[in-house]
């Protein structure tokens, strides 16, 4: 099948790639742009491991076609830290031991960042509902919720 040229902005950088029209955005990020932070956990939009931001919306990149990224602005886990300066969420995930195998971690972080951008002071329930689309098999979630709460508090204080 002939490939389609796609031009997009990823983590602030202009990128272009050739996509098979059947390829997902996840595959394009991973295979064509070498951005392997987003993971395939299920391929059906149920686990959240492939979460990225597409034009300011949190999406499962396994449910978006690569060609849909034409002209879009995308941010992934690779763009979350500012150079060597970790985002508060990243630091708090480390401090709270909110990760074990780490496979779901990029998805949780991207999703949590999207939450805090909309709602800088989320309640425990709001965090729980927002992260309902991200599965973690290792931690039991408690430390993840605490890390998000703590990061939110710090970011409010810093703002």
């Amino acid at each position: 099948m002939s490939k389609i040229h796609v031009q997009a902005t990823v983590n602030g950088d202009s990128v272009e790639f050739l996509a098979d029209p059947r390829e997902t955005l996840l595959d394009c990020l991973r295979d064509h742009l070498d951005l392997t932070g987003a993971k395939e956990g299920c391929g059906t939009g149920d686990c959240g491991a492939c979460s990225v931001m597409l034009n300011g919306r949190l999406v499962s990149s396994c449910l978006v076609l690569g060609v849909e990224a034409e002209g879009a602005e995308i941010s992934t886990i690779e763009g979350m830290a500012d150079g060597n300066e970790l985002h508060p969420l990243q630091r708090k995930f480390i401090e709270h031991a909110a990760l074990q195998c780490g496979f779901c971690t990029p998805g949780f972080l991207v999703a949590a960042k999207a939450l805090l951008e909309k709602n800088p002071d989320p309640s425990e329930s709001e965090i729980r509902f927002w992260l309902a689309g991200n599965l973690c098999r290792c931690t039991g979630y408690d430390k993840i919720v605490r890390a998000v709460q703590d990061a939110a508090a710090e970011m409010r204080g810093a703002a």
């Binding site: 299920c42 149920d46 969420l89 780490g102 496979f103 991200n134 098999r137 290792c138 931690t139 039991g140």
Partner: protein, 788 residues
């Protein structure tokens, strides 16, 4: 300053939060790498009559297609040589690999794999316990039976005899990273394998076997897995073997990963169990005799079923003194995926059997379930600990088989229980969880609320630590100190998120008295440490920790001897601390000490080796000491159910868990929290459904519900017991991977308690697992005499 016992974060945490951590599928592959996918059997049992693979072969990007006829019996079994990579004439379950597609991309391989047209002569499929029993389809010649005392007599003469049946489901591992392998052909036919596996040596063994190579021609590396939970102990063999065969055929690197649906259909899961029980108790609820019959569906091949079913038998006592006991275990062959290792390895299933018995007996005798459990506990390891009920314990006339009131009691398989700390642990948890007051509060709530009913339960865990196949209890390490004082650490354990690598780096840094940044953690590699055991049975830090310590101590002692000689003092006067080495008034950096030793031609590299002592076990007789020690814990759970829908929530959980002198309390708490939630998932939301044709209908997260963020307890209090392991383990710590999984049992018992509040107390709830909303609703209906 010692680095062991410190709550340091996971070693790869900075890589995980930035997305830099590499899993198998993230490793850049050379141009020309090929991708593999299996064509799968669509029926549960039958002969392959014809295979039309024309459309597969001509599909876009396909390089080659292999069948069983092409490769013969390339075995993937970890035990019995009964798992050919590709079906050889007969298919045994829906999802069994039948042919292998090699293509230029993952997508092309998967698409082509769906184009095969296979015709079968179907045979009757054996899917249920009853069908397998009727056909006598089983592993081993008959049921395994262990017996102590005279259970039949003890039950017959007991004041109360209670019988029942418990069914519990299996469990999908749902490691977030699916199975994956990448194999690169090397010069001279050697193979380099990168695999997401808990058992690199087994991958090496199976690949070497399939290619008819000696093991030294195959090198396997594993840096990390995205979760394992037992599901990557044997289930990764197929992908590595397939890639190796394809790599030899094509001369190209070959990669394979299952997509989620294939992973769930093809690979094995936790064994489901049916347990029939008959128990005789005295007036005080003390168990006089108990008879268990375990039935487990092992699936089509043996895999690890024998040791799994053995471990279920070995945990039939949990924390209770059972003077007269018989356990009969049926390992049944069914036309399903082959059940395999899963966190707890049969232990949770066996343990749930006796916990159900406790719940049932408490109901029949009208006793508080916690009080009943304490009365039946093993005697405390120290004398004169007055556990509740011990005063009356052996007063009944009909208990002539009870031993004296002091001394160590033994498990049904004859191992002395010398380290029993559950009396103290339970007393503490009852206090911190406020069990008695909350029990009353729950009763008051239930009296006032007709629709939402609450339940409370507190259950203990005693779990045996060691591989029951005794020779697996060994480990090796390889440590280098370079001339700049930096340290290279390698050992046989694998990292699947549990934090093993960090714990062992703490052991190494502590041995040399250096900071964590001096120690480089490296991928598990069969070329560095050979003949490793799986990272399983919770043994990772126990075994590899001791091996690492041995290697580090050897090098440190060599450096000490060298410096002592130079300063005309003795080696024990050389102090390694805080990155410095002090000897005879001189203060060197560790790097200077290393350089000095190097220049004096002292070897700065060593292996380390460890074999667990004291073990002796006869699995056929069911006698001996299979375990080095026991790990303990207890959990109090409160739940609420909606009696109109069966919907339920975990309201509060309090856990007290024994990790010995924890090597890393942060990582150990993570194991306890995650283990509990996974255990609760097993017994509540995680339901595997096979239809009448043997097709797994729950093969994706859309239909198979692992706990999500909202399913965790609203209040979650986890405390580590502060006590050192009396056995000589690595820095007196205890294994922590599997034991906390069984704290999930408290949730099932709390749900049972909530359902019981719907009835008048005449009928036992008998809630099977998983206690899905449907099951809870049905149980409520039974309690209410048919009305919801």
């Amino acid at each position: 300053m010692s680095l062991v016992h410190k709550p340091l974060p996971h070693d790869a945490a900075p890589l995980h939060v930035t997305g830099e951590a590499r899993y198998v599928d993230d490793i850049p592959t050379p141009t020309g790498t090929l991708h593999l996918a299996f064509g799968l059997s669509e029926i549960a049992h039958g002969e392959i009559v014809a295979m039309d693979l024309g459309a597969v072969k001509t599909a876009p990007g396909v390089v080659a297609v292999l069948t069983g006829d092409d490769i013969g019996h390339a075995d993937c079994s970890p035990s019995n040589n009964d798992e050919p990579l590709l079906a050889l004439g007969t298919v045994h379950y829906v999802g069994q690999p039948v042919f292998l597609v090699i293509a230029d991309s993952h997508l092309n391989a998967r698409k082509a794999a769906r184009l095969g047209k296979i015709s079968y002569a179907e045979k009757p499929a054996i899917l249920t316990v009853d069908e397998a029993l009727a056909a006598n389809e089983r592993f081993e010649e008959g049921p395994r039976i262990w017996e102590r005392g005279s259970p039949a007599d003890a039950i017959a003469s007991a004041a109360h005899v209670i019988e029942g049946r418990l069914e519990m489901g299996g469990q999908e591992h749902f490691y977030l990273e699916g199975q994956a392998a990448l194999v690169s052909p090397q010069e001279g036919g050697d193979m380099h394998v990168v695999s997401s596996t808990q058992h690199p040596t087994e991958i090496q063994h199976k690949v070497a076997h399939a290619l008819h190579l000696p093991m030294n021609a195959v090198r396997v590396e594993t840096r990390r897995m995205g979760g394992g939970f037992g599901g990557k102990e044997s289930q990764g063999n197929h992908l590595a073997v397939a890639c190796a065969l394809a790599a030899r055929l094509t001369g190209k690197p070959c990669k394979m990963r299952y997509d989620r649906d294939d992973d769930m259909v093809v690979t094995g899961k936790r064994h489901d169990f049916r347990i029939d029980y008959k128990v005789g108790v005295d007036e005080n609820g003390l168990i006089q005799g108990v008879d268990f019959i375990h039935y487990t569906r092992a699936g089509w091949s043996m895999d690890l079923t024998l040791p799994v079913a053995d471990r279920a038998m070995l945990h039939a006592d949990n924390a209770y003194w059972l003077p007269n006991i018989r356990i009969e275990s049926h390992r049944l062959r069914t036309n399903m995926c082959s059940a395999t290792a899963y966190r707890g390895f049969g232990g949770p299933q066996g343990l749930l059997g006796i916990e159900r018995v406790m719940d049932h007996v408490a109901h029949e005798l009208g006793l508080d379930p916690v009080e009943l459990r304490k009365r039946n506990f093993y005697r405390a390891s120290e004398p004169a600990r007055s556990g509740a009920g011990t005063g009356k314990r052996f007063s009944a006339e009909h208990s002539p088989k009870q031993p004296e009131q002091s001394g160590v009691q033994t498990t049904p398989y004859g191992q002395p229980v010398e380290d029993f700390i559950l009396h103290e642990m339970l007393a503490r948890l009852e206090q911190t969880s406020d069990y008695a007051a909350r029990k009353q509060a729950v009763a008051a709530w239930n009296a006032a609320n007709p629709v939402l009913k609450k339940g409370l339960a507190l259950t203990p865990v005693k779990f045996g630590i060691s591989f029951t196949l005794t020779h697996l209890n060994q480990a090796g390490a390889l440590v280098h100190v370079y001339q700049d004082g930096s340290i290279h650490l390698n050992h046989g354990g694998t990292e699947m998120g549990q934090g093993l690598f960090q714990k062992l780096a703490q052991v190494a840094a502590s041995a040399f008295g250096v900071g964590m940044d001096a120690v480089k953690i490296t991928a598990t590699d069969t070329a560095k440490v050979p003949n490793t055991s799986a990272t399983a049975a919770s043994s990772g830090s126990d075994l590899n920790g001791m091996a690492v310590k041995a290697a580090c101590d050897t090098i440190r002692d060599r450096i000490a001897e060298h410096l002592a000689e130079r300063h005309q003092t003795s080696a024990d006067k050389v102090v390694f601390a805080e990155g410095r080495v002090q000897v005879g008034g001189e203060d060197l950096s560790f790097a200077e000490a290393a350089m000095s030793a190097y220049q004096a031609r002292v070897s700065l590299s060593s292996t380390g080796y460890y074999a667990t002592p004291k073990l002796a076990w006869d699995r056929v007789k069911g006698e001996g000491r299979p375990f080095y020690y026991f790990a303990y814990g207890a959990c109090c759970a409160e739940v609420v159910i909606d009696t109109l829908t069966g919907e339920n929530r975990i309201l509060r959980v309090d856990i007290l868990h024994d990790a010995g002198a924890s090597l890393n309390p942060a990582l150990d708490r993570g194991q306890v929290e995650g283990g509990f939630v996974q255990g609760a998932g097993w017994l509540t939301t995680e339901e595997l459904v096979w239809d009448a044709k043997g097709r797994l209908r729950t093969h994706a997260p859309s239909t198979y519900k692992i706990p999500a963020c909202g399913d965790r307890p609203r209040q979650f209090n986890v405390e580590l017991w502060t006590g050192a392991n009396p056995e000589d383990t690595i820095h007196k710590s205890k294994a922590v991977g599997e034991p906390p999984f069984m704290h999930g049992i408290a949730v099932l018992m709390a749900l049972s308690d909530a359902v019981a509040a719907c009835g008048d107390g005449s009928d036992y709830v008998a809630l099977d697992a998983p206690a899905t909303p449907e099951r809870i609703l049905a149980a409520v209906k039974r309690q209410r005499g048919g009305y919801v």
